[in-house]
Subunit: 150 residues, 2 copies
DNA sequence: TATTGTTATACTCTATAACTATA
DNA sequence: TATAGTTATAGAGTATAACAATA
């Protein structure tokens, strides 16, 4: 341990943020385009969040998914059309809309989980062991950076 | 070294690909939404690629950016409107469109490079040293995974 | 005929502004 | 008045299919 108290680690290289940004956005685009037949990542992500949290209000769901309420209104409307969620007004405050997953959603999520990583898995298969080790070690940091664990 | 020849490292956990996918797409959305005032990430990315490669055909640029040719036609048209690229027909094969950056593009890229990592840098500042070390170590792997280095 | 790029069209995702219903 | 959510509208980004120009 040679770092001083005021700077416990060397600063990141100046090109670190740009490179991370570019790599992240490229990879996200590849994943988005590959897609899951029949249901978009946006819908899956919102659905998975409802499944994970249990019943949740539309506004809170918008927060959790980092979208504006009107966007979530449309997402939930589509999920409801697909019989993947149910929306019910709160009994005490009828402005509030509670969103809950249906049994269909649970099985869809299980099914999708199996298929949806094909592209990523196939790309991961092209990396060597050191790259995989590095990615595995960095995943929690990446999740914190993305706010997934927050 | 205890791994067998047929399996040189332990397999990635089953939830690795889904978690990496979610984290990547969340982070990309945050970055996309933060945006760069006045010019989108899509345009910047294509422009930066032209600047990096030098004169490039529209079709090759579409390949490099992982979009279909019609999408690149639109991207280049916008960049041309903004006087950030010039498009010229190849003299020998007039079907081919060569795309080149303008001086305005060079200064824009320099300017943008300074500002555009604000969000990412501010989020990185919330991570501890171990997370930063892990991310730094994993960046080349992530770039290979995203095909940035390919 | 084959290739390069464009036009036409449509879809998803997202936002902001204005609105409704309820508190 | 304030809050939760919706509707209206617009814009960016992307795709596929059909086309035009050129080789």
């Amino acid at each position: 341990m040679v770092a001083s108290r005021s700077e416990p680690r060397p600063a990141l290289p100046a090109d670190f943020a740009p490179r991370l940004r570019l790599a992240t956005m490229r990879l996200a685009r590849l994943l988005r385009q590959h897609g899951d037949p029949g249901i978009s990542q946006t819908l899956i992500s919102a659905l998975a969040t409802v499944a994970r949290t249990g019943p949740v209000t539309l506004g809170r769901l918008a927060e959790l998914e980092s979208v504006q309420p009107p966007s979530m209104t449309r997402i939930v409307a589509k999920l409801e059309e697909l019989d993947l969620v149910v929306r019910r007004a709160d009994v005490a405050d009828r402005r509030v809309a509670w969103v809950t997953v249906t049994p269909e959603a649970e099985s869809l999520l299980a099914e999708v989980r199996i298929r949806r990583n094909e592209l990523l898995a196939s790309r991961l298969a092209n990396l060597d062991g050191r790259d995989l080790d590095a990615l595995e070690a960095a995943l929690p940091a990446l999740e914190r950076l993305a706010g997934v664990l927050a």
